[in-house]
Symmetry: C2
Subunit: 82 residues, 2 copies
């Protein structure tokens, strides 16, 4: 399944607990769209969050993040990785 | 050691071989600055590459990427992850 990197902006001050809660909200509904959210990293100071997932397509990721209450600013396919 | 996400722009058309070579160029000299580059993901279409590393500070990452021939556009600390 294709892999994606999505980026969120504006999550200033995000704590480990808040990121875990947001991630869990994705996990709770990701099956509806066949998405598999794998990892996420956050910088509380810049408010940026990056998520790596596998999904059928970018729109599936957008829909899950939007329903979970934290729409993605950008979603990129990442077919190349090391 | 602190973790970081750095972003490269303009790497249009990057192939798996090119990303592996670029990553290896980092690995070859990362010890000079105490950096540990762990993973990288690339979108050949947008030209963006994201790298996760552990490092003493952001400047150490900038110096290694610059010496390896692919300066980072942005480097963010990511103290929060899931």
């Amino acid at each position: 399944m294709p892999k994606f990197m999505d980026v969120h902006e504006g999550m200033y001050g995000v704590t480990p607990e808040a990121l875990q809660q947001a991630h869990q909200a994705d996990l709770d509904i990701q099956g509806d769209e066949g998405v598999d959210f794998q990892r996420a990293w956050a910088d509380p100071e810049s408010g940026k969050v990056w998520c790596v997932s596998e999904a059928p397509n970018a729109d599936a990721i957008r829909r899950i993040h939007e329903r979970a209450g934290h729409p993605a600013t950008e979603v990129y396919p990442v077919p190349v990785e090391v």
